[in-house]
Symmetry: C4
Subunit: 233 residues, 4 copies
């Protein structure tokens, strides 16, 4: 039901606040219903304190037009649409201006895997996109923001690298649904800060070994994972 | 009514606390009523915990004299007066000693536009003033603080650059009213921290492209803005 | 009674949250009952908000097998077992991903004793281990994590240096029981941040004098201690 | 009455917690009654959560002996005594391990006056002492800690510079009574962080001009002050 997705997306937007990722009213979360061909997203510029599920806006995945809801969708809607169209296995997207992830994006640098904390979630560095070109900014800016992310992932699997940093702008994180997208955005913020502090202590700190990276990612993800409880527990 | 402005200015002062911008009792917010030719400002050195609207002090914009209120106005009153006289379209001013904005002021450096977060509020760098000269300090110090800000804005539009950093002192932010001044002071603090963290990650980080700066500022401000909800919503 | 130890270990795990050391669900605390030959540890991947004493898992110190409890023990269980077997006087272990201690671990650097705060708890630097070798990662990874800690302590007394930083991973702290292990993990996090800030202010800051290090450690620990109240008070 | 001073000192110790200056149980505040020749100080190693006025310990200013109270006084008692004996106009002392002030102490560096925030409280840099010599540590360590502070203030006025950083240890702040000592310790922590952030943004940041330093200190302190409300208000 579309009502269920609206509630889920509204709750995920409020989780952004709970996780300390929201500064002022910035940031937005969406979720997708691929069977119906629609995306549900936060309305533009509405205060989180008064956010309600019925205010969520339903947008056609194909046309980008609002199909239900009386408010304007987030101004970043075209970015979300491009990501859902190109990354066919993701179900939710979270965009924030959280401090440390945004600092890395402004620095135009990807976050190297300096420890197992990042390896538990990303099977590699968190990549930064290139800067947009002037004509990409002047026309269809938000859509082109999606395109530079997709371009950056040409040889990367978005399920194994569930976030990107848009140069000069900020992070986009995703997951199997809106809730997981927000969880990944929260871990990204921690990992961004952790990497910054690490390099301050040792500017020559090296990424961890490939074997350690894979061991940690795979003990949490995939068929051989052994973290947490078995489903039947 | 002057009572309405007093309430608004009192609330804006308390918002400073809520936004985490107040350290001890430092900082002050004012609002102006240009039709009546008066400014309303926080009394000097009064604890925020017991601040009441009736304690706000009313000062003549022309003479700088207290025209109503039993308490002394903030010791920074002459700075506010200069800004209202010279920046004719602003309606509120907030002065804080918030950590990161004050650090940039102490560093004597303007905050470069390293990302879209700053571009959403400032159509350029947040400028730092020059240091005051000895004679400017020894006589009419607070008034001269206003003058160095105005001097720095000779070729800048205060509505497009709604804050300044006074070298060796701290930030002044402004807006169309006292509430917006506090909001801009809060965003300034975030942007100041964000820029500091960015340059720590990449000391060679470059300001964003002019096209991106304008696109972000203009999607939130001016006739072609498309952020948030239409007024009729 | 094993129930008492379960309660103590559960409480110590919740103290991790109270001390601000928990990020998401990461981290785990255990306690040992050497008379019974068992270790009690947090179950794997269970949210702290719903953690109960009866969920704690009892593991044989000798075989490493679960002897009581329906849930899987923490995936770091083999690391804890190695430490209890080799450090015969410790009674509790806490593993966290707290920000600054993890940053030092990722930096691959021990924390030098730059002041008396650290000397009150560690009679020397907090040591970092070497990186694990590929074959140590590919087989018995968690057990080998314990071994590199023990290897690093060849010439160190674990009671006088109650924590280690595993390179590229994070901190393990210990103490006479689970509660003290968590206390030491909390102090470690503070000391890690303090050392990082100190070196930022003065990159050439030197460790304190040996006499001062010993004076502070010994005024809190051992027969000549004179900090706090006498037992009879 | 001695009960009044005990309450005041107890409240000031709890204010340390409220100001966020307490880490674990570290830190202590005292107040003096020069007419009676006694100092009142926190007992050693007692948790702040259960601190009561009747637990405060009364110590003779002349002999250093406990004259009332059943608990041991803070282990830093001899340091406080030296300061009261040598700085004859101070009435309260606060010692903390607050993060940034302690980092400057560990760095062995005084805090330069980089802005007006510090100038409002200190008419100059916050000085760091020299390191103690081995024999000063091995015998009468806490007393000698007081002596190196006094030595550092040979040409400084403790009322115009109400704090010192003991090299490799941490800050001591003071004031006209215990409450003001804690207030100064809180401002010191802010100023310590502010200076660290400033120098990170601009490692060549210069102290403010002498005229500005004096103008700010004197507008808050001394006969010509004009900050706050007149006493009769």
């Amino acid at each position: 039901l579309i009502q269920t997705l609206k509630k889920e997306v509204c709750r995920a937007n409020l989780d952004l606040v709970r996780e300390g990722l929201v500064v002022q009213t910035w940031g937005n979360v969406s979720g997708v219903d691929r069977a119906r061909g629609v995306m549900v997203i936060k309305p533009s510029g509405v205060a989180y304190s008064s956010l309600k599920a019925e205010q969520m806006v339903v947008v056609s995945l194909e046309t980008g037009k609002v199909v239900a809801g009386r408010l304007r969708p987030s101004s970043d809607t075209p970015t979300h649409l491009v990501l859902y169209r190109k990354f066919e296995d993701i179900g939710g997207i979270a965009h924030t201006h959280s401090l440390y992830a945004t600092a890395w994006a402004q620095a135009g640098k990807g976050i190297p895997v300096l420890g197992t904390t990042q390896a538990d979630y990303w099977q590699g560095a968190v990549p930064a996109t290139r800067r947009l070109r002037t004509r990409e900014i002047e026309k269809n800016y938000e859509e082109n923001t999606g395109h530079v992310i997709v371009e950056r992932f040409k040889n990367l699997d978005p399920l194994k690298i569930p976030a990107a940093l848009v140069a000069g702008h900020g992070p986009f994180a995703w997951g199997k649904d809106a809730g997981e997208a927000v969880h990944n955005a929260a871990v990204l913020e921690f990992v961004a800060r952790l990497a910054a502090e690490t390099l301050r202590i040792n500017p020559k700190a090296e990424p961890i070994q490939r074997a350690l990276l894979d061991a940690h990612f795979l003990r949490k993800h995939g068929p051989a994972s052994y973290y947490g409880q078995a489903e039947t527990t």
